[in-house]
Symmetry: C3
Subunit: 136 residues, 3 copies
């Protein structure tokens, strides 16, 4: 038994990191499921889903890290499309677009400092669709 | 209710990136499932599953990125086995071997430019087994 | 039908890589499930789950790689908390805390050299909770 919920989220792009933990928790509560799994997925090829301690300093650190290993630059993709988001695509392939979290006793089994985040690597504001899938 | 399909794929190795989206879509159609989840998994320790915009320029960019952060070289693993694929293993551990995509209204919920790919990091052609698991 | 098993594991921290394949296999056997999926998840924001060939040389290579791309250092997170584990958090966000492995004919569908590992990136010994979730 699977319940999907599609949620639309507006982002600023440029490694915008959005805390979606409460949104996901709300769907888990609404589902009334006690024991299950929650899959979080983002549609698109320049975004990702992961977890992070949602603290301002660490968010900056993550952006700095991404700028270090995958900076904006002269990617082949940019030449092909006269585009500038080659690095955004590579970051998404590396971080990936899905994550699973167990549901135990009706709650997401997360650590205190472990928040679920949508990361938008694109170079402009985007309207994103994420899917919260709950199954038991 | 889970349906597994094991599919064998021949690769060229050396960061060969194979678009498996149509293969996965076909299994989703065959399953007749309207709402579910699809897990894609690759057996082995020198390959990975992720998504990417399947465009020639970007595929080159991904290979260049992997060569930059995890080049061929003098890894401890290579000394242990008189082997040369230490970097292939590390790339697989980093990118990981599983991915989930929601199935909504009988279709994979993917972006237009978001293709599912098998990436073979090994240093020689390989025969790979992937598993497409569909559940509802 | 989902069965969760929470297991406590003591780690040494500092990129301690622990082979949990046998623990997971045991739960799969206990479940008596022939065809299903196993999700492995670690609670916390400074750890990860992935697969690797569990060989001493390669474990060193992985640690060296992590030290290269995400060394200990002066992260904003460390200033905020007078802490020293900014790099541990970033490594966890990059590697992620969940993994799926298909169960086929009552066995995890893993390669011969593909072991499931808990990686603890924190800077001190930790008591970790992992969840093995099996569904069919």
């Amino acid at each position: 038994m699977i319940k999907h919920k599609i949620i639309t989220i507006d982002t600023k792009g440029n490694c915008d990191i959005i805390n979606i933990t409460e949104l996901v928790e709300k769907e888990v509560e609404n589902s009334k499921i006690k024991d299950g799994i929650c899959t979080i997925f983002v549609k698109g090829s320049t975004a990702a889903i992961s977890t992070i301690e949602y603290e301002e300093g660490l968010l900056k650190d993550f952006k700095n890290f991404m700028d270090k290993i995958l900076p904006k630059g002269n990617y082949e993709h940019n030449k092909a499309w006269n585009d500038e988001n080659g690095h955004s695509h590579l970051r998404s392939t590396l971080l990936k677009t899905s994550l699973q979290v167990p549901i135990i006793n009706g709650k997401l089994f997360l650590g205190t400092w472990q928040q679920i985040v949508l990361i938008d690597f694109d170079t402009r504001p985007r309207r994103r669709e994420i899917v919260i899938s709950i199954y038991s």
